[in-house]
């Protein structure tokens, strides 16, 4: 029977495509191997269910297709069968949900030793900020944003003065060190997404979101903006470079502080009265 056969071929084709085709996720570069494992479990369970349902249907179509004299069996319901199926389905769902929730908990619980970096999105580029020598990120507010202060650091906050500001450049991270990225946007929604890290989170103007991970292999990885942010959405790319400790330190020494940038722009943030007023009334 053609129809039954085609259904069997659809199952076989899907399974073969899944197993043999070269299109698969990119090699992981963060600690989120657990996420890959959960996806693998889910693929197995759902794949089995899909094959079972479609093959059973193919069998029915073959076995019970209309032939002269055939009569269907009249059987309105079968309590027992329906309960069995419900229970088995419930177990399958639990087998996916339990590991899922477990890993979700890890995904949102940031380890204490994670270093905080900031990622700031704007149409259509990526900026970054690292805490300076004091190890703390200074206060920010979108109202402070101006040409010489693209990220809106608060000039009145002493913690902000030694922050390292990277405008449109690459972000470097050190291999093996957990990071907590604080995500912020100064205009519209964006989304920080690096396929190799498996991590992703929206950046929302007016609030700070976060994502954390530990890079586990060196290399250059591309940041894709994954939330529609206007015509430049697909062009909004950035780079994360995962370095060895040595290279990371070398890179770090080259970065400019907020004080340095402002001084170059002629603003005196130490006598911050005027600067603060200026950006407020702007």
């Amino acid at each position: 029977m053609a129809v039954a056969l085609i259904l069997v071929l659809i199952v076989a084709g899907s399974v073969l495509f899944h197993l043999l085709s070269p299109w698969w996720w990119t090699p992981i570069a963060s600690n989120w191997g657990y996420i890959d494992d959960t996806i693998t479990i889910t693929f197995w369970i759902t794949g089995i269910v899909f094959a079972a349902v479609v093959l059973f249907m193919a069998y029915c179509i073959y076995r019970f297709r209309h032939q002269p004299g055939r009569r269907a069996v009249y059987e309105p319901e079968s309590r027992k069968l329906e309960w069995w199926l419900t229970i088995v389905t419930g177990l399958g769902v639990a087998a996916m949900l339990a590991p899922g929730l477990f890993v979700w908990h890890q995904f949102i619980a940031v380890p204490k030793d994670a270093t905080e970096f900031e990622v700031v999105g704007q149409q259509w580029l990526w900026n970054f900020r690292l805490p300076g020598k004091d190890g703390r990120l200074g206060a920010v507010d979108t109202r402070h944003v101006s040409a010489d202060n693209p990220l809106g650091l608060d000039p009145d906050d002493p913690n902000a003065h030694d922050d390292l500001v990277i405008e449109g450049g690459d972000l470097h991270l050190e291999i093996g060190k957990p990071v907590k990225l604080l995500l912020r946007s100064i205009d519209v929604l964006h989304d920080f997404y690096v396929p190799e890290f498996r991590a992703k989170m929206d950046m929302v103007p007016g609030m700070v979101t976060y994502v954390w991970f530990t890079p586990i292999r060196t290399g250059t990885f591309e940041i894709f903006c994954a939330e529609l942010c206007g015509v430049g959405h697909a062009d909004m790319r950035g780079r994360v470079v995962v370095d060895t400790e040595q290279n990371y330190q070398a890179w770090l020494r080259e970065q400019k502080t907020f004080r340095h940038m402002s001084a170059r722009a002629g603003a005196r943030i130490d006598a911050s009265e005027d600067a603060g007023k200026e950006s407020k009334t702007e």
Binding site: T42, A72, V188, C229, V231
Partner: protein
């Protein structure tokens, strides 16, 4: 003794006896001219065809847009007239038209209007005049939407989710021009029009069922459409307020959804609003919307399978229960669209759990469909073929929903082409298959003629295999990490360009499927005059719409007397009966000689 209806005591609503009429028969408005009969008609069947015709026409626009989008994705840079701005306008209009103006309007306004009165044995909807208005407001909404193609700046390119702030800013096509305004106005009109129709469908089902048509004897088609309408009446208000507030933010400079922000170096005059609030409003509507489309499809496909497999639907009560349970649960899962939106991460536990629970009643429906095929007498008619194709694609798309519903698995997949593949399978392709099946099934009732079978078969096979070939491989493009709503991958240090060949293949498949739809349209018109004439009940079905005195049914549906219902809708192959079906309005079963 031959059971009357079904196994006594096992099935509800099969008790003997029919209650006396509680209300007098309805006196209908009688059209006096051609205009009141066919244009400003109050006959639900005419309104149904107006709804369906308009929905299919605007749906065709969305289909053409999908070809253009696929051309760009399959062969980037080859088609110079598609730039980033137009690409985003195409996806936005395509998505919105497909979901709202095609699927919602066709299932509820089209099939709802045609089938509810006929299937429950009523003469018409209970408020025919409001029903007529509903269509005209819908048409106005469509016209406003179409107008945005012709205004300066073109239609909005904000994505069908219309997320602020970008939706109303200048970085998005139509954001500071007419596009977004017309889109919001059109949605507001659509909801007004829908509410008029929706109240009608609900009241009609509750109040105008004929004698003997208890709720638990209703065909599942009516259950599906009825529950979906209730959902829509509860969900659309969220979109309505969201749209009004966004419109205010855009034209009156309020800040419901707009925080302080700096756009291209300019500090804008907004402060204190919450973009995430809009997302909650949108998805409080948007998730039930999936079921507004899915539940009528569930109902209709149940009836198609039962009729063409000549077997009672398996587990009718469980099916009704599942429809109602899915409808109720659909209101507490909305934030699974927002795992990576920046909402409080603890919500993830709650919404992942509710989302995976909803899989259970959904799975029960699938089991009962295939158990209806089991030990049936399966006629591989075109409606049956589409029903089978529905099960394949729905199961496929439903299962990938378990990936995206499970918060942490959603993290890498969210906003990639995996999501696009998933929702096309489950709420694009699967319901469209039901629509096709339903059109092939009810066309003879509407016109008195069958759609041409050869054209139907060609249409079916290309559409089924083609659609699967489009959307199954697309999951893997997303799994690799290609984000959705990407005009092009451009230069990249990632290895994502290795998906290029697959994308070209998908585009070829999409264009082939598109061509097959032209054959379908041709068939619709060709068979109007050339189709085989087949009489009032060609499928030998049990439900009331096949028992009308005339085909096509006249205004008022029934002759002098309303039908009286004696049994449920699924008496196929009742043991001992002389025919393999017993219509719902047949009092006793005639035994085989």
């Amino acid at each position: 003794m031959v059971p009357s209806g079904a196994v006594e005591g096992v099935l509800p609503g099969t008790a003997e006896g029919v209650p006396p009429a509680e209300a007098d028969d309805l006196e209908l408005y009688h059209p006096k001219s051609w205009v009141t009969k066919y244009v400003f008609s109050q006959d639900a069947k005419v309104i149904a065809i107006q709804y369906a015709g308009t929905a299919l026409a605007i749906g065709f626009v969305a289909l053409v847009l999908s070809w253009l989008m696929r051309l760009q994705l399959g062969f980037p840079g080859v088609f110079a007239f598609i730039d980033a701005a137009t690409y985003y306008q195409f996806i936005t209009m395509h998505g919105m038209i497909m979901v709202i103006y095609l699927l919602t309007a066709l299932f509820l306004g089209g099939f709802g209007n045609y089938l509810i009165p006929l299937m429950i044995g009523a003469r018409d909807m209970v408020f025919p005049y409001v029903n007529m208005l509903s269509y005209w407001v819908y048409l106005l909404a469509v016209l406003v939407l179409v107008a945005s193609f012709f205004m300066p700046g073109g239609p909005t390119g904000a994505g069908w989710t219309l997320y602020p702030p970008q939706a109303i800013l200048s970085g998005t096509p139509g954001g500071q021009e007419w596009g977004i305004i017309l889109m919001l106005v059109s949605l507001i009109l659509f909801i007004i029009g829908f509410t008029m129709g929706g109240l009608n469908y609900v009241v009609t089902v509750l109040q105008a069922r004929t004698r003997g048509m208890t709720l638990m004897r209703m065909p599942l088609t009516v259950w599906g459409i009825f529950t979906a309408t209730v959902l829509a009446l509860l969900a659309f208000p969220a979109l309505f307020v969201g749209a009004v507030m966004l419109l205010f933010d855009r034209v009156l400079n309020t800040s419901f959804f707009m925080p302080a922000l700096v756009e291209m170096g300019q500090r804008l005059n907004y402060d204190g609003g919450s973009p995430i609030l809009f997302q909650h409003l949108f998805w409080f509507f948007g998730h039930p919307e999936v079921y507004i489309v899915a539940l009528p499809a569930f109902g209709i496909v149940s009836d198609l399978i039962s009729t063409h497999a000549r077997r009672n639907i398996f587990g009718y009560r469980m099916m009704v229960w599942a429809i109602v349970a899915i409808g109720a649960l659909s209101f507490i899962v909305w934030a699974h669209h927002m795992y990576v939106s920046g909402m409080h991460p603890w919500f993830g536990f709650f919404f992942a759990t509710t989302t995976l629970i909803i899989a259970i009643p959904t799975a029960i429906k699938v089991y009962n469909w295939i158990l209806t095929l089991w030990r049936g007498d399966i006629h591989l008619t075109i409606p049956m073929l589409f029903a089978i194709a529905f099960i394949v694609t729905f199961v496929n798309g439903g299962l990938t929903g378990l990936f995206l519903g499970n918060a942490v698995v959603d993290v890498p997949l969210s906003d990639t082409m995996f999501v696009v593949a998933h929702f096309h399978m489950v709420m694009g392709v699967a319901p469209i298959f039901v629509i096709f099946g339903a059109i092939y099934h009810w066309y003879p009732k509407i016109t008195g003629r069958m759609l041409d079978e050869t054209m139907g078969k060609i249409h079916f096979w290309i559409t089924f295999i083609g659609a699967y070939a489009i959307f199954f491989p697309m999951h893997y493009v997303g799994l690799m990490g290609v984000p959705r709503r990407y005009y092009e991958l451009g230069e990249t240090v990632s290895n994502l360009h290795s998906s290029d060949a697959l994308n070209a293949f998908i585009t070829v498949a999409a264009l082939t499927v598109g061509a097959a739809q032209i054959l379908f349209l041709f068939n619709l018109f060709w068979s109007l005059s050339r189709g085989r004439q087949v009489g009032g009940n060609p499928w030998r079905a049990t439900t009331l719409e096949w028992q009308t005195p005339e085909t096509p049914p006249r205004h008022g549906n029934w002759g002098k007397e309303l039908p009286v219902v004696y049994r449920w809708a699924y008496d196929y192959n009742v043991p001992g009966a002389d025919q393999d079906f017993v219509p719902q309005n047949q009092p006793t079963i005639t035994r085989a000689a």
